[in-house]
């Protein structure tokens, strides 16, 4: 008999089809995968990790260690799904995992027969010879044997989302304690959130057959839920696991939006919530534990409460002849309910001898232990310590309760042992968390309701809610009495950790070898490292340890429970940030225009920048780049340089501030002028460079490199707020507000004259190199004009408010046609700056000094500026220091490689002889050969010398000549022209 005709919380009118290992079955709405499997008489669902022992369904909750299945197929497949937590849906496909051969005939079971050689930690003692065999032979075998389920190796097709929630009180767990607490809180008007991992709220009351206020408890649940549902200040969240408790009252929760992930390509499968709550109550109940005896891992051996819940909630009786093994009163409840449902209860075996049977009319054996279970793929009989053998096809085991206190430990709470109920109870939970009911070690309903009443009253008062009305409950007093752990360590093959196959023997061996601290024991034997994180095994293992060491459970202590409470998909943590949405795109103001000009884009941080603009007939990027360079140098080119950081600096002390943050002097910069500036880090290393323009006495505009836009701004804010708090300086980042374009080339002035307000004279006399002005262009668009040049040409940079950018760039390119204006991208920009010997990111890599860069003279010795004192340290000023210089291949046909190292000719290429490295290279279309910039020892004194640039990665050696870094127009006549 598997499914009883009536009762429970399933809808027998709604059949659902599903499959397991290729066979089709039928379940009902309201089933979990495990209840549906049991309802079809299926116990064997998997294999254990190490010995490949058969595994059945052990529990009915998220603590399930054994019934792990591979859910769905192809790219939807998901490993290690606990069958007990999946809400059954039509079309569900599931398969067993971790076997070679069929589930019932697993070849790897051989490990079980060899287990004497595979004891705890055996792998640390062998596989060492011969040395090369580890990676080639031993490890691959171990790896293939390890692991449980499989990933599809394809991209996760589901969507995930995230959200934030805020409340006064978070109720974790919607069992009787949680719902009752929620009700008390809700009636005060406090904003509350109730979460529960189950897909229906009610917790244990959905599976119990007890009366409350003279009605069956599941009806009480319904009535409370209907009231809570009607209140606006309450948010009820089922299928939502609170997986972690973090600092500052922040909780992580995972909501399952759809159990059937085939529906989740467009709608989210999970939502990852971050809940900010002033206070929380933990009402997560308690988890039952097993009892140690030989072969206690066989399918058909289940937790007693789970058997009861399968019967009461799902109408499933998991055996024809069920026995019960208990050391406490709760086991008897199972017997009672099973009997009531018409099931054949063979007998109940209670370890306690001196008790009066709490329930009559059930065959019982008192004061006895089971020593061994027998069966192949499922339990068939048990043997008692008096030799008696009892045939049974399902054994419900109740070894007492462990409060479900894991969330109290996420911030280092350390549970302590309770000698009355023989369990660990919460101790030092987070300051804003209170534990109520069974989670706190109260296994009696009446006490639990009282506990809730008292604590909630206090919590709500502290939160400022004073009108507290407490709902009355009448419930029969249920006694919970349990016997302590036996004083003798049982013998035989006894399972402590069902999934990882840790046995009592393993614990004995580990302790014998010195691994007796709980944490060492865990690491040596893998006890408690399975997917249930020791929920089933921990306390049992500790009980063995305490016997061996002759210490109390309290002295032994527990390992630390870590988040997450139950495993959370990595995809859910990532949410929407995947694929192209991993990071936001920053688009330059001319992006659309660049796109329409066929630009190829490149990522520069979060920016997308035009890299080059291929035109018809160009086959390689080099052709395009060469053309852009040549055309700019011969005529005029335009390039969007908005990505450079822009910072507006205002205030009376702006000049002094710039003197302070730049290594060179800015205080004396005249209004209407721009100056190149070098910034040092506080440790004296070159940080960033750029230009700063002075538009008025107290208004400067700084530019930074693209890469350092954020860090420079942050640094300036630090200098302002922490180092010079009294100064009158105001900073604002305007990177996104001004669209800025470089307009470079001999014809740039002519072009600009066409768009500038005619009243403004930009002739060389009136607007010389390094001038700046606020002007208007194209009939009234405000603009900032700078005469600066990165390309080495006569050049300008012009900034317009971003909203005009598209119009501006379109207009100027139209007007520019007659000057053969060419758009150029970052690649041509790079070529031209290398031709001119300007340092960029590859040179300013945070490891080089002003001296290395050849800018030593710029560092003002007189100014008290950031970094100048530290830059004077000896090691940064050595005579043979690296210097930034240029390089050309002796054989002009050869290409230089950035990242090559310099070795003097005739010397061996090794670290000792390493003289520096090539930082940037380009093909110069002006010189028609490859050129490079790089750092080499005393480089500035070695022009003309030949050295080898070696690239051992590709076995290349190129002879190069050390050259001035200024390859093109070294005198700088063009940019002043």
């Amino acid at each position: 008999m598997y499914r009883i005709k009536s009762g429970g919380l399933i809808n027998r009118n709604k059949e659902l089809n599903f499959s397991f290992n290729g066979k089709n079955f039928v379940g009902y709405e309201g089933d979990t995968l495990s209840s549906a499997l049991l309802g079809n008489g299926i116990h064997l669902v998997g294999r254990s990790f190490k010995y490949h022992r058969p595994r059945g369904i052990f529990s009915s909750g998220s603590e399930e260690p054994s019934a792990l299945v591979q859910l769905e197929e192809k790219n939807f497949t998901e490993p290690n799904i606990r069958a007990t937590t999946v809400k059954l849906y039509d079309g569900l496909v599931s398969n067993s995992q971790n076997h070679v051969g069929s589930l019932s005939w697993d070849f790897m079971r051989i490990n079980d027969y060899l287990s004497t050689f595979l004891s705890a930690g055996f792998y640390y003692k062998t596989f060492m010879w011969p040395k090369a065999f580890w990676e080639k032979v031993y490890e691959p075998i171990i790896r293939n044997a390890a692991g449980l389920g499989k990933l599809s190796k394809e991209s996760d097709p589901s969507k995930y989302d995230k959200g934030y929630l805020h409340c006064d009180l978070l109720v974790i767990g919607a069992g009787p304690a949680g719902l009752y607490s929620a009700l008390i809180a809700a009636r005060t008007g406090a904003k509350i959130i109730v979460v529960d991992e189950d897909f229906i709220l009610g917790g244990s009351f959905n599976g119990e057959n007890i009366n409350i206020n003279d009605n069956i408890c599941s009806d009480w649940v319904k009535s409370i839920l209907s009231e809570l549902n009607s209140l606006k200040n309450v948010r009820l969240m089922s299928s939502t696991t609170l997986y972690g408790s973090f600092d500052h009252g922040i909780y992580g929760a995972l909501e399952v939006k759809s159990y059937n992930s085939k529906n989740t390509i467009t709608k989210p499968r999970h939502i990852l919530w971050k809940i900010y709550s002033k206070f929380s109550v933990l009402c997560t109940g308690a988890l039952e534990r097993s009892i140690l005896f030989e072969n206690n891992d066989l399918p058909g051996i289940m937790l007693s409460k789970s058997v009861r819940h399968y019967c009461n909630r799902w109408g499933v009786i998991p055996g024809n002849n069920i026995s019960i093994y208990t050391n406490n009163d709760d086991g008897w409840e199972t017997a009672k309910d099973l009997k009531k449902a018409g099931c054949n209860v063979v007998c109940i075996i209670d370890q306690r001898s001196n008790i009066k049977p709490p329930i009559e009319n059930i065959d019982h054996i008192l004061g006895r232990n089971i020593v061994k279970a027998k069966g192949n793929l499922r339990i068939s009989s048990i043997k008692l310590d008096n030799g008696r053998i009892i045939n049974t096809d399902c054994l419900a085991v109740s070894g007492g309760y462990n409060p479900n206190l894991h969330l109290t430990c996420h911030q280092r709470g350390k549970p302590k042992w309770n000698e009355v109920n023989h369990c660990f109870v919460p101790h030092n939970p987070p300051k804003t968390m209170e534990v109520i009911g069974a989670a706190n070690g109260l296994f009696n309903h009446e006490e639990m309701f009282n506990d809730s009443k008292i604590k909630l009253t206090k919590i709500l008062r502290n939160l400022g809610f004073r009108k507290i009305a407490v709902e009355k409950v009448n419930i029969s007093k249920k006694v919970y009495q349990i016997s302590p752990f036996p004083k003798k360590i049982p013998e035989g093959k006894i399972w402590v950790d069902l999934q990882n196959d840790v046995t009592v023997k393993d614990i004995k061996l580990a302790v014998h070898e010195g691994f007796h601290s709980v944490e060492l024991l865990k690491r040596y034997t893998t006890l408690g490292m399975a997917t249930d994180q020791g929920k089933n095994s921990n306390v049992l293992g500790l009980s063995v340890l305490s016997l061996i060491k002759n210490k109390t459970m309290h002295e032994v202590g527990t390992t630390i429970f870590r988040p997450p409470f139950t495993p959370v998909p990595i995809g859910a943590f990532a949410g929407r940030s995947r694929g192209k949405h991993f990071k936001p795109f920053r688009l330059t103001p001319s992006h659309n225009w660049a796109k329409s000009n066929n630009a190829v884009f490149v990522e520069a941080g979060n920016w997308l920048r035009a890299q080059w603009y291929p035109i018809k007939g160009e086959k390689t990027w080099r052709e395009s780049v060469d053309r852009e360079v040549i055309q700019t140098r011969n005529n005029v080119g335009i390039c969007d340089v908005t990505t450079l950081g822009k910072i507006d600096i205002k205030g009376k002390d702006s000049g002094a501030f710039l003197n302070f943050v730049y290594a060179n002097n800015f205080g004396k910069l005249p209004v209407g002028k721009v100056r190149y500036g070098l910034m040092l880090r506080d440790d004296g290393i070159a940080f960033d460079d750029g230009t700063t323009a002075r538009f008025s006495e107290n208004h400067f505009v700084m530019t930074t490199t693209t890469a350092n836009a954020v860090t420079v701004f942050r640094h300036l804010e630090f200098c302002k707020q922490c180092l010079k708090p009294d100064w009158d300086v105001h900073l604002i980042s305007t990177t996104d507000h001004w669209a800025q374009f470089a307009i470079a080339g001999p014809k740039s002035r002519k072009l600009l004259q066409e768009i500038c307000d005619p009243k403004i004279d930009i002739s060389n006399d009136k607007f010389p190199f390094m001038a700046c002005a606020k002007i208007t262009v194209l009939e009234g668009i405000p603009a900032r004009l700078f005469r600066i040049s990165f390309s080495g040409e006569l050049a300008y940079e012009i900034a317009v408010p971003r909203r005009y950018a598209d119009f501006f760039v379109k207009k100027i390119s139209e007007i520019g046609k007659k000057y053969s204006l060419v758009p150029y991208g970052t690649e041509a920009l790079g070529v031209m700056r290398i031709e001119k010997g300007h340092a960029a990111g590859n040179e300013l890599n945070g490891q080089t000094t002003a001296h290395n860069l050849g800018l030593g003279k710029m560092v003002s010795k007189l100014n008290d500026c950031v970094g100048n004192t530290m830059s004077e340290r000896d090691e940064l000023n050595k005579d043979d220091a690296l210097k930034l210089v240029g390089f050309i291949p002796t054989n002009k046909k050869q290409q230089l490689v950035a990242g090559s190292h310099f070795i003097e000719k005739g010397q061996i290429a090794n670290l000792e002889n390493d003289q520096g490295w090539m930082s940037s290279v380009a093909f110069s279309p002006m010189l028609n050969h490859s050129i490079g910039l790089g750092y080499i020892k005393r480089g500035n004194q070695r022009y003309g010398e030949k050295v080898n640039a070696v690239n051992p990665l590709k076995n290349e050696i190129t002879e190069v000549e050390i050259h001035s870094p200024h390859f093109y127009d070294p005198e700088g006549e063009l940019l002043r022209g």
């Binding site: 640390y124 062998t126 449980l148 060492l520 390493d914 051992p952």
Partner: protein
């Protein structure tokens, strides 16, 4: 006792009764030649090399908790020697060579698995920097390969080559890099040191130094005063706390680093992979779990736990390069305290107090250094001279400007 397959076979047949304690648990003596404070990887390897290579056996290791309770048992187990700077590269290469022979040396299988470490690059600039680094590695005797996107795809077809926000253009591969079973490193070294007479003392917290006339002659512990000729601090994340008891302020801040492991999966990932445009690195353990991590939490802390922003950041990084892991589930997260130094590089040095030595500042990368750190510290302790590959790891290097800043981040510990 020698460990071997044969021994396992014999013990299996005879009921596994003949195994010895992996280390003894002695009560501390009154005095030692050398006391090592901290029973983490570095402390234990120091003890191992002192007793096995430098013949100094009158040594105690004092550990405040259980052996390996610190970062040695919390890290993501990656070993590599793909360093750039000449002050670092030879040291880490020396370490890698010691790793390669570790099982033979210690007769303990710590599963040194040279499965290859891949650092992905996503831009030309990054590639150039990796070429420079790869060449540095080869020049100092290590191995390095530069893979382009085609070669990388062959090795790791599951990387997101089509849809990545930051295109995956190739990788720097160090084939000899890989992973090691971290706990086993501590146990193996402890066993090896113990066998040579080193006292390994657990649950023994040092909470003060006995300093007389500028010389450190012992320590105060919860097990009483223990004296020694030389005292060697080796407490990683607790360095600042401990050394302050000798009145020393270190160029170190303490930060949390988190790590994560997924549920066990059948083999899916052969190499160690590091994302170049976000914070994520991953490998798959022999048990089948994906072991991964990312950036430090960023705030100063001594709490061995982290918070959600970094968890999300790390998982985002993972999904960005290998979206197949979306359906793998994160099983456990934890944190360790990093001794983040001002330039991201470590110290193995004497202090200004005679008899007091310091080892620390390993940041999030000290696991791979474990053998060399122990070896070089042992060298310093035994001979009072730095080992040549570690001679730049001085406490006064900031004074002179001999900074060792691999990342070029400057004197801001949380950026390294």
């Amino acid at each position: 006792m020698n460990y071997s397959g044969l021994k396992i076979f014999w013990e299996g047949l005879t009921g596994n009764k003949g195994w010895n304690k992996v280390w003894k648990e002695p009560t501390p003596k009154k005095e030692y030649d050398i006391i090592i404070i901290g029973g983490g990887g570095h402390g234990l390897s120091t003890a191992y090399y002192l007793s096995n290579k430098f013949n100094v056996n009158n040594v105690a290791v004092l550990e405040k908790g259980w052996l390996g309770s610190g970062n040695i048992g919390r890290n993501t187990t990656i070993i590599r020697s793909n360093y750039l700077l000449p002050e670092n590269q030879p040291f880490y290469e020396f370490s890698l060579k010691l790793w390669e022979n570790l099982e033979n040396d210690t007769n303990y299988n710590s599963m040194v698995s040279q499965r290859g470490v891949l650092n992905l690059f996503h831009s030309d600039g990054q590639r150039d920097a990796f070429v420079r680094r790869g060449n540095s590695m080869i020049l100092s005797g290590a191995d390095a390969n530069l893979l382009n996107d085609v070669e990388l795809k062959e090795l790791c077809p599951y990387l997101d080559f089509e849809n990545a926000r930051f295109p995956i253009k190739g990788a720097l591969l160090q084939k000899r890099g890989g992973t090691v079973r971290h706990d086993a490193v501590a146990w193996g070294y402890a066993r090896g040191a113990d066998a040579k007479g080193v006292d390994i003392i657990q649950n023994c917290e040092v909470d003060g130094f006995i300093i007389k006339n500028g010389k450190c002659i012992g320590v105060e512990t919860n097990k009483g005063v223990i004296k020694a000729k030389k005292i060697a601090s080796c407490v990683a994340g607790s360095s600042g706390k401990l050394m302050s008891k000798a009145g020393i302020r270190l160029p170190i801040e303490s930060h949390v680093l988190q790590a994560f492991v997924s549920e066990g999966l059948k083999p899916i990932l052969d190499n160690v992979i590091t994302f170049g445009a976000g914070h994520f690195y991953v490998s798959q353990s022999d048990k089948g779990g994906l072991v991964f991590g990312g950036d430090i939490d960023g705030y100063n802390s001594y709490a061995q736990r982290g918070n959600l922003p970094v968890v999300e950041d790390v998982c985002e990084g993972g999904m960005a390069i290998m979206p197949m892991i979306g359906r793998a589930r994160l099983l456990r997260m934890w944190g360790g305290i990093m001794d983040m130094s001002m330039d991201g590089s470590p110290f193995i040095d004497k202090t200004h107090i005679k008899g007091l030595y310091f080892n620390g500042g390993w940041c999030y990368g000290g696991f791979k250094a474990t053998p060399a750190s122990g070896y070089c510290y042992a060298h310093l302790l035994a001979k009072d001279e730095p080992h040549p590959v570690a001679e730049d790891y001085k406490l006064d290097r900031f004074l002179k400007g001999k900074i060792i800043d691999e990342k070029g981040q400057g004197a801001q510990p949380n950026l390294h």
